[in-house]
Amino acid sequence: MLVNIKERKHEQGNPFFKVVEIHDDTQDPAVWGKNFPLQYDGYLRTTDMQRTRYGGSEAMPRTPSQVDPRSTVAQSKLEEDSRLKTMWAGYAFSVDFREERGHAYMLEDQTLTERQRVVTQPGTCIHCHASTYLAYKQLGDGDITLGFEKLNQMPYSEARKHVTHPVACIDCHDPLSMSLRVTRPAFIEGMRAWKASQGIVDYDVNQDASRQEMRTYVCGQCHVEYYFQGSQKRLVYPWADGIKVEDIMEYYDRQKFKDWTHKNSSAQTLKAQHPEFEMWNQGIHARSGVACADCHMPYRRVGAQKISEHHVKSPLLSINRSCQTCHHFSEQEIKARVESIQTRTYNLRNLAMDALVSLITDIQTIQAVNPNHPGLPTARYLQRRAQFYLDFVEAENSTGFHAPSEAVRILAESIDYARQGQIVLRDASYTPNVSIVAIEQ
């Protein structure tokens, strides 16, 4: 025997020095960092900005101003592809939309985006851009769901006063056991609804999920599609019919929900947002039990310790640790594989974007000539559908990697809808292959 260590000594627990007491009201990550300096150190480094071919982020210098004191922002996606402005015409996203960057920026990027200046946003926004656990607890007198509801109903500017930090240790960890926990009511409720649709009653993510599942669910708290329900502006994840794009589409159609009325075409349109969790679920990695944290928070060796990388970022910036324990190919080859998946997705996304923009332009042209053209209602619904499908891939931040075939399949259907919209405008007798749902103005 070459290594001789007393049996089961590992069960003695971790070599960790408790410097301070942490309890369920300790919000400041710097305090937690006293006990866990290595994790804290990584957490702080989410300020880094480095671009990959389709991800990461690029530090664009800007001159700080009174209203917006940021000296760097991420690159503007609207400038990279102006078709996005057409897609979102009339919605705040057409004014400012940037590549997302590290967690350290989440609170300031939300506070300072120009989208805040063109529309008054509700407090609901804050849910995914700050450490809200303590605010929930305090506003709800210990009941986080109550606190959540109160925060939702405030105007953003007021809600903003209740939070201080970007997502922090307390939002993902139980302070006593340090095990993972979900703190976001919207995710708890969304999971319960989804599981119910599969016949599982009263699912409680904090009780019923395995440790490995929690390594995904803590991220699923925010990296998901969402909408603001009713006048309470409740944050809801639209999963009651399932989490595939067609399930969500059906859900919104049944709710007759729209995000806004399209400026150019008057279609009742939807904005899809970062459905990473939903798309990951359709991929081979989810099926193989590979969690978000496996790739985005890979273990890192520091001295004699191995810790979870708390510098959450693109795995392409740490291929050796994120991928190579499972995939024995060179870094270069792994990178090439990812980029080949992404390029295929990106090229098809471009075709789908062209089809959508053509449809929008056609509607605009025709309604100008004849606002009562009989093909318009159908064409507008097809735009709603084509656009949501396209945006589901566009807004998903892995450029197809999390579920390559699924992403391409969704784009294929998007193209089918957009082109059929164009047909209908030229031939109102045409019956598309999907039933038309009327969404009120």
């Binding site: 000594k9 069960e11 003695q12 039990g289 979870s308 499972c326």
Partner: protein, 168 residues
């Protein structure tokens, strides 16, 4: 405080202890029957069944069916630091003997009858043993990973490090 949440020995291990005892009884009985019928017994002899009781990896490769795994081990990062039994037999004199007896009987029988799934797959019980053996050597580094629940199976080392013992 964190120490208190640590279980000294997980339930899985306790159960294994008990099953091992009964398996030992079955093994002894089967071994005698095996010798009588000349079946398992012959193979046990032919394959130098006592090799299960040594740490010599070439002993495992006595069965040609183990050759591929031996070859894989030789290419792996661990060939210089761990032999088959370091990963596939529990440590501790008693439990190690029991385990080898059980596996020895099982493999001999399988080898003789040819009745086993191919490709060969590690059994759940033996995977648990291997997982424990990783921690035996790497307890220092895996301390943090075990987290604060310390349920052994909640982090599987081989999920990410499947190939440390065998590189094909």
């Amino acid at each position: 405080m964190y120490k208190e949440t640590v279980e000294p020995e997980s339930g899985a291990v306790r159960t294994m202890r008990t099953t091992k005892l009964s398996i030992f009884v079955i093994f002894c009985a089967s071994f005698l029957v095996g010798i009588a019928s000349g079946l398992g017994g012959y193979t046990f002899y032919y394959a130098q069944g006592t090799s299960y009781l040594t740490d010599d990896p070439t002993a495992c490769a006595n069965c040609h069916i183990m050759q591929a795994f031996f070859d894989g081990w030789q290419k792996s990062t661990h060939h210089a630091v761990a032999v088959c039994n370091d990963c596939h037999a529990p440590s501790g004199v008693i439990s190690s003997f029991f385990n080898k007896a059980v596996n020895g009987y099982h493999h001999s029988k399988a080898f003789t009858t040819g009745d086993f799934h191919e490709p060969i797959r590690i059994t759940e019980d033996n995977r648990h043993i291997t997982e424990r053996q990783c921690r035996r050597c790497h307890q220092e580094i895996s301390g943090m990973l075990n987290g604060w629940r310390n349920d052994l199976e909640s982090v599987s080392c081989t999920r990410c490090h499947r190939s440390v013992g065998h590189l094909y």
